[in-house]
Symmetry: D2
Subunit: 472 residues, 4 copies
C-alpha cells in the first residue's frame, strides 16, 4: 500500500466509485472511496441523485475528514458516484475536486474520472473559440462540454461522440438524472471493475472497495467498452475498435492496494513474485532482507523467501505523521531528528542488509534510506528495485514530475548507485517484471504500458501533451 | 442597519466592491466588504489579479470568518473585486458564492453582481440549447456565457452586447486580466458608487465602505452607464438610452447603513424625516416612543422629536446571537425564553407606547413584538410603520417571499392591526414617504421604484419572472 | 451596552448565573449567560449536577462558540451554575475559566464568582505553607481551599468561616451535590439578584437575564447576605454585620445592559438622567448631539432632550468586527482605513457637534473619535463625559490598568482637553452623577462606591492589593 | 505496533518523555511523544520551563492534532516533560490530561506518569480528610499532594517520602523550576530509559523515541531508582530496597514499537522468536501464514520462517480509519460492509490458513477475523496466539476491562476455539513465552510480571484496588 505523505514518490491521480440503485448509495460510496483512499488523499467528493435533483459534497481532505454522518445523510437517492483525488497543481484545487457537476440542456450531469487526456488542450481551445467558458483546469470539463454541444440527446450517444474526439488514459463514471454510464479508454490504461450487491451495480477503480462493502466482483471493464445502466437494465457497447492493451504496470508494482486483484491477479502475490524475480536476477550475500514500508513489504518477503535470507523489520514508518506534523528545522534534521522512517538499530547493526524498494524517482529518498541504515550500523546496504529504471514521464495521470528530475533519465545504474551510496544497486529487468506479474503471455508486452521505462507510449503524444512536463 | 438573523424580514441579495490599481487591492476589498456586511451574511468572496492569473477565495460565512491574513495574502495583485451575499436558495449555495470566475477565449473573467434579472431563464434555455453548460443557478453565469459567445473580442463590447439582451436590476463589476468594467441597470434599481483613493479607483454598493477605507467619494454610477478602467485610464459610456429612474426605495427605508449616502442623501437623516412624516400623518397620545432595533432607531428618534414624546430603549436586541445559537424548544419559548428581542419592563410598564418599525412583511414579527411589549406592562401599543404596506413581490433582488405570504396583499390595515394585536396601526403614505426621503421632486415618483407597494414595476415582467414567487 | 472589543476601555471581570431545581437547568444557564455576554467575552463555562456527579464544560470564546446542543445535552441535572469571564491575565487563561470544580472530603464543589479579593495573596501564601497546591491563579481557588480546610462539614458553615477571612468585592455561587449557596460581599460592590421561574430559583448578575428566560424578578441579594437552597427550601442568613453600602457606580454608567434594573432602577433611564444632568451642568451651543455607540447612546439622547439640540447618528460602529478581524497595517491606518468606528460625514459636516461618552480612561480613544469627527467636517467638537474623571485604580474587579495610564491621575481637565483635541471638555460632577442615578438620598454617597473617582475605597487596601497595579 | 482504534484490545495508559537542558526542549518532546504515539492516542501534553514560569499545552487528540508550530513556540525554555495518554474513564477526560501542573509553596511542579497505583484511593481519602482538594481523578494528583504536604523542602526528598507511601506500577517525570526528577517503581513494571543528546539528558518510555531525535541510548532506569538532574549535574539514588523484578511481559508481546529495545532486547526480534516458539509448540499443516496487522506481523513472519509455510498478506487493515469514520449500520454490517480489517480472497481462497494474533481478550475480535477468513474462502483456519491466555485483570495500568469479560477467565481453550469458530487454537506456553523473549534466565520468571496469565501479582493488592474491575 502506498504512502500517505509524499515527497519523492510517484503519485496517482484518482480513485472512482459508483453505485446504481441502492437505498444507501452515498453511504456505500463513502465506504468505497474510503477503501480507495490510497489512490488520492487531497480531496474527496460524492454526488448522488434522487432522480430529480443532484446532491453533492466535495472538499479538500481525507474521506473521513470531508464527510460525516450529517453530510452523507443529505446525499439522498439511490444512485451516486464519487472520487478521491491526488492533484499536483497548486492553484484553485478545490475547484478541480470531483465529481464535476453541470446543468445542460438535458438536465443534470456529474462526472468522475481517473486518468489524463493527451489532447485536452487543443479541444479546449476549440471550445473556447466557440464560446464555452470553463470553471476548472480539469480535463474532465472538456468531456462535459463535448457532451453538451453534441447533437445527440441521449447521454450515451453524446458521450460516444465525445470519446471519439479525446485521446489518453481514463476510467470514467457519468451520472445523469436517471442513467449511469461507465467507460474505459481504448488501451485500458486505468483500471475499472464491476460488481453486484444484491440488485445493485457497483463500479470501482479497485476490487478492494468491493470487499469493503461485501459486493461480489463480476469482471473488469474492457478497454474501449461503455456500459450504460438505466431503468431498462445494463447494456454494454464499444465506442472504440481493437487497440493495443496497455494496463499501467505501476498499478501492480506500487499503486494498487495489495488485497486488490487486477484482471484476476492479486497484487500482493504479484509483488511477491517481483521480489522472487529480483532474487533470481540479482542475488546477493547478505544477513537481512528489509522492505521500505508499506509498498515494498510484499516484494521484500518474496525476495527473502527466494533467497532464504531472513526478512526483518529493518525500517519502521511512523504512522501518525500527517499534514499537520511540525517539520524539523534543517538544524535538527542534521542532528538526527527523523520524520517518517527510522532504521531499527538492533536489526541492522553489524549486518549486511538487502533493502527492497518499488522504484527510484529522483533518488533522494533512496539516498536518505541508505544513510539511515548505515547510521544504524549496517555494514553493507544492497538496494534492489522491483521496477525497471523510470526514465520517461507519464502522460496518463501519474505524477512523475519533470523529466529532468527523473534520475534514471540521465544517469546509469552505476551512477545512481554512487549517488544513493549503496554497496550495490539493481533494477529488475523489464522482461522479468512483465513475466513476474504474470498476465497474458501472448499479448504485446503482456498487455502492459511500459512507457515510463522505455518511452513506448501506447497513444499519440503531442507537443501540447509534453509541454507541462518540461522545466521552463 | 438591518439585522443579521432573519425570519420575517426583507433580505437584499448582495453588496459588491472593487478596486483598480492599488497595491493592497484585496485587503481594501476585505475592508470594503466588511463595511457592506449588512447587505449579505451568507457568503463572501474576493478575486484578485496580478495581470496574469486570477487568485480567489470564497466561502460560506461572514467576511471575518471567510478570510484571514493568510488567505488575503495569497490574493496578490493590484486589481480585485468582491461580493457579500445573502441567498435564498437552499441547494448548492457555495457554488453561487461570487465573484464567479471563468476562463474563456480571451483569458480570465470574474463577475460580481447585486440584483436580479427578469429574463435570465429564457436566455439560459437558449444558451443550453446551443451547448452551454452551467455550474451555478445564478443569473450572473448567464452574463458570462453571453460575453463568451459574443463576436466581439474586447470585454466592454462583449458586455455591452450582453447587457442589450438582459433585463432587470443589477449593479455589476467585471474584471479581466487587465480591465475593470462597471455597470448599472438602465433604471438604476441597485445602488453603485465611485470613489478615489490616491490614484486608485474604488467602487462600492454603498458609500459607508469608502469611509471605512478613507476613500474620497466621487459620484454615484448613472443608470445605464458603463465605466471601463484599464491602463489607458477611465472611460464612461452608455449602453442604454434614457429610461425611467427607479431607485429601490427600501434602500433608504431599511437596507442601507445609516451612515451611507445615496445620491447625496444621508440614509439616517432620511429615516429621521420618515419618522417625522409619520408623526405628522399619524400622531398619537402616548408616553414613550421606541424603535425596533437597529433599523428603526432613526425613524423612532424622528417621530419622538416631532411629537415631543420621549424616545426610550423599550426594546433591546441581543447582539451575540449567531448561527450557532441554540434555539429554545417550543416549550421553553412558551414559558418565556426569548431569543433576540426583549422588552424593557421599567421603560414600558404602565406606559402608552408608540412602536416604530420599518416594514411589515408577514406580520408575525410585529405580533411578537406587540406581545413582548404588552407582557412587559405596556398599557397601549401604537404601531407606526415607516413604509407603505408591502403588497407585491419584488423581482429585483429583494427576498419578499411568496406573494401569498405578504400580509398586506390580502388584508386591510385594520385587519392587520387586529392580527398583530396593536391598539392602532398606521403606515406612512406613499407620497409622504417619497417626499420625506427628499429626492428630485420633478421626476416620476421622485425617481423611486415603488413596485412592492403599488405594483408599478419599472421593467417588463414575464411569466418566467413571476413563477418562482408563486406557491405551488 | 458595552463594547465587544476592547482597547482603551474599562473591563468588568464576569457575569454569573445559577439555577436551582429546573429540568433544563443547564440550558437556562446557557440562555442566562448569553444575556450576560456583555460582562465577559473571553471564556464561558457551565457546571451542572444530577445529585451524584458534576458535569461541566468550559472554554475560551463566546457562549455561542463554547456551547452547542450536544455539549448542553451532556450537562444533565436540575442544578447548574455558570460564568462568563473577561480576564486580563495572559498565561493559562483556560485554567482560570469558571466554574472552578473541586473534589473535597464532602464531595463535589463548584464555584462561580464575579469580583476581586483584596487579601487573596496572604491567604494563599498561608495555605501553600500548609501544603495546599493550586491549579489556577484565580482568587476563587482560595475560597475553595478555605472551605476544604474548614472544621465544619456543612458547606454553608464552611463558607461562612471562609468569608470571614476574605475581603474585597464578590458575588458568588457555590454548588455542591445537593445545595446551592449564594453570597454577596458586605459592601455590595458587585450586583447579584434573585428570581423565580415556576418552582425554580434563579440567580443572575443582572436582571436582563431573567427577562431572557421569562423568570420573575424577586429581589436583589443583600450585601453580606448568604442564601442557601436545598431540599428543605431557601434560607437567608447574614455572614457579616452592617457595612457601608457601596455599589459600583460604573454598573450604571457603563457596564450593565440598559434593560437591566439595579435596586429597582432601570439602567437606560439612569443613563438618560446622567445625560440630562450633564446638559444642566455643562450646556453648549451646538447643532448636533451624538453618542459613542453603544454605551453612550442613552446619555446622548438625554442630553439632546434636555438641550433641544437634535440627536443624530454621528458615529457608527461596525458590528461585525470580531476576534478574527484582520487589523489594518499602520500604513493603511494612516491612510484612513478605519476599524470599528466611523463618523458620518453628512451628519457632522459643517456642524458643531456635542459628543457624549461614558468615561475617559487613557484618552487615546477620545482623541481618535475627536479626530474622526473633525476629519468628517465637524467645525467644533464638544466632549461631555457622563462620569467624573477616573483617577484611581479599581481593586474590585474592574480592569482600570496601571494607575500611571489613567490620564486623569496626572492631568487637569484642560490638559486632557488639549490632549484629545476637543473644543471643550466637561465631566459630570460626582454629586451630579450620584443624584442623577437617583438611589437612596440618605445613604453615604447614596450607597455607591466612588473610589476610582476620589480614592475613597470602601474596604481595606494592602500593599499586596496595590502591587499588581503598579508599573515596574 | 499496536492499533490506533480499539475495541477488543488491551490498552496501555501512557507514554512519557522528558528533556533536560536543550534549547529546543519542547520541540524535542514533541518529536519524542510523536514516536510514542502508539502508547496513547487520547490526549497529549507538554510542559516546559524557562526557569521562572511554566508554559504548557494539553488537549484531547493525537500529538499532531494537539500541537502546531505556534503552540510549540510558546513552550519556551530548556527543560520540558510530556505525556501521551490513553484513558478509559469517560468523565472530565481533559482534566486528566498530563503533565499535571501545580503551584505549591516551593514554586511550580509538573508531573507526567505512566502506570497505575494500587493504593491511591486510601491515600486520597486521608488527604481529603486533611483539607486537600482535588481537580482530577488521576492517581498522579495524589503524588503532588504528598509532595506539597511533605516537611522536606527539596523536591527529591519530598518525592522520596511520597514514594515510600505509594504502591503500584509507575514510571514518572517530575519537573520543578530548576530540577528534573525521574523514578521507576520498585518492581520495574513500566519501562523507562535514558539517553544523551549532546549535553542534554533525555528520558523516554521507549528507545524508539531516542532514534526519532538522534539521541544516544545510555541505559534503562533501574527499578526503585530515582535520578535527579539539576545545575549540579545528574545524581542517581534509590528510594526502595531490592524487590522482585517484574517487567510487564505485554510490552514485548504487544505494546512497544517493534523498533524499540527493552533491556537491550529488540522487540521485533523478540516477537519473531515468539512466533518461532509457537511453531515449535504448536505446528500445523497449512498453506499460508498470516498475521493480524500490525502487532502480529513479526510473530507471523517468525512462525512462517520456522515452519516453511509461506507468509502472506491474508488480512489487510485500512489505515485511514479515524475517530471521524462513519460506522456502518448494523444492517450494512450484516450485509458485509467491513470497517477495519479485510481478508484478501486471492490469498486465502481454498487455502488452509494459520492466523497469528498476539492475544485474546474477549474473543469477539478473533471470532470476527476467523469469519472474515472463512467468508473469503479459507478452507481451514488455525489460530495461534503469541501470549498465554489472559485470565486475570491487570492493576498496573493496562486496561483489561472487567474480569468477567476476559474470556479465558471462565473458559477452556477448547471452549474458546468453539466460540471463535477456529479449526484449531493454541496459546504459547508461559514458559515458552518467557524463554522466547529471552531475558535473564536466572531471575524469578525471568524478571517478568505474568499476573494477567497466572494471578501472581508482584505487589500487594487491596479491596480498593480490585473494586473498579468488578462489574456492579
Amino acid at each position: 500500500m502506498r504512502d500517505e505523505w509524499v515527497f519523492d514518490e510517484l503519485n496517482e491521480e484518482c480513485g472512482i466509485f459508483g453505485v446504481y440503485d441502492h437505498v444507501d448509495a452515498s453511504l456505500l460510496t463513502y465506504y468505497g472511496l474510503h477503501a480507495l483512499q490510497h489512490r488520492g488523499q487531497e480531496s474527496a467528493g460524492i454526488c448522488s441523485t434522487d432522480g430529480t435533483q443532484f446532491l453533492y459534497h466535495r472538499n479538500m481532505g481525507l474521506v473521513t475528514e470531508v464527510f460525516n454522518t450529517e453530510t452523507i445523510n443529505t446525499l439522498t437517492g439511490s444512485m451516486a458516484i464519487g472520487q478521491v483525488r491526488y492533484s499536483t497543481t497548486g492553484e484553485s484545487r478545490l475547484q478541480n475536486a470531483q465529481p464535476l457537476i453541470f446543468k445542460y440542456r438535458e438536465g443534470n450531469l456529474a462526472i468522475a474520472t481517473n486518468g489524463n487526456l493527451v489532447n485536452a488542450e487543443p479541444i479546449r481551445r476549440q471550445l473556447e473559440r466557440n464560446g464555452s467558458i470553463f470553471q476548472t483546469t480539469s480535463d474532465t470539463e472538456v468531456i462535459a462540454h463535448l457532451i453538451a454541444r453534441s447533437t445527440y440527446d441521449r447521454v450515451e450517444d453524446a458521450l460516444k461522440e465525445a470519446l471519439s474526439m479525446i485521446k489518453g488514459a481514463y476510467a470514467l463514471l457519468i451520472m445523469t438524472d436517471d442513467t449511469l454510464v461507465v467507460a474505459q479508454d481504448p488501451n485500458g490504461l486505468r483500471p475499472l471493475c464491476m460488481s453486484r450487491l444484491g440488485e445493485s451495480y457497483i463500479f470501482s477503480s479497485e476490487t478492494c472497495a468491493f470487499d469493503a462493502i461485501g459486493a461480489e466482483y463480476v469482471r473488469d471493464v474492457e478497454p474501449g467498452e461503455m456500459i450504460i445502466i438505466d431503468k431498462d437494465g445494463l447494456r454494454s457497447t464499444r465506442f472504440s475498435g481493437p487497440a493495443r492493451r496497455a494496463t499501467c504496470s505501476f498499478e501492480f508494482i506500487y499503486f494498487a492496494r495489495p488485497d486488490s486483484d487486477i484482471d484476476g491477479i492479486n497484487v500482493h502475490k504479484a509483488r511477491k513474485r517481483l521480489g522472487k524475480q529480483l532474487a533470481t536476477e540479482f542475488p546477493v550475500e547478505a544477513d537481512v532482507v528489509t522492505g521500505v514500508p508499506d509498498s515494498s513489504t510484499s516484494a521484500a518477503i518474496g525476495y527473502a523467501e527466494a533467497t532464504g535470507i531472513p526478512y526483518e523489520l529493518g525500517l519502521i514508518k511512523n504512522r501518525y505523521i500527517g499534514r499537520t506534523f511540525i517539520q524539523p528545522t534543517q538544524e535538527l534534521r542534521e542532528r538526527g531528528v527523523k520524520m517518517k522512517l527510522s532504521a531499527v538499530r538492533r536489526v541492522v547493526e553489524g549486518k549486511r542488509v538487502v533493502m527492497i524498494d518499488d522504484s527510484i524517482v529522483r533518488g533522494t529518498t533512496s539516498r536518505h534510506i541508505v544513510n539511515l541504515l548505515r547510521a544504524a550500523g549496517a555494514t553493507e546496504v544492497h538496494v534492489r528495485i522491483s521496477s525497471p529504471p523510470v526514465a520517461n514521464p507519464c502522460f496518463y495521470g501519474i505524477d512523475t514530475s519533470h523529466r529532468e528530475d527523473l534520475v534514471a533519465s540521465k544517469h546509469t545504474v552505476e551512477e545512481i548507485r554512487q549517488m544513493i551510496g549503496a554497496d550495490s544497486l539493481s533494477f529488475i529487468s523489464q522482461e522479468g517484471m512483465l513475466e513476474a506479474i504474470g498476465r497474458d503471455s501472448t499479448a504485446y508486452k503482456r498487455g502492459f504500458c511500459t512507457a515510463c521505462f522505455d518511452a513506448d507510449y501506447p497513444t499519440e503524444i503531442y507537443e501540447d501533451t509534453i509541454k507541462p512536463y518540461l522545466k521552463n
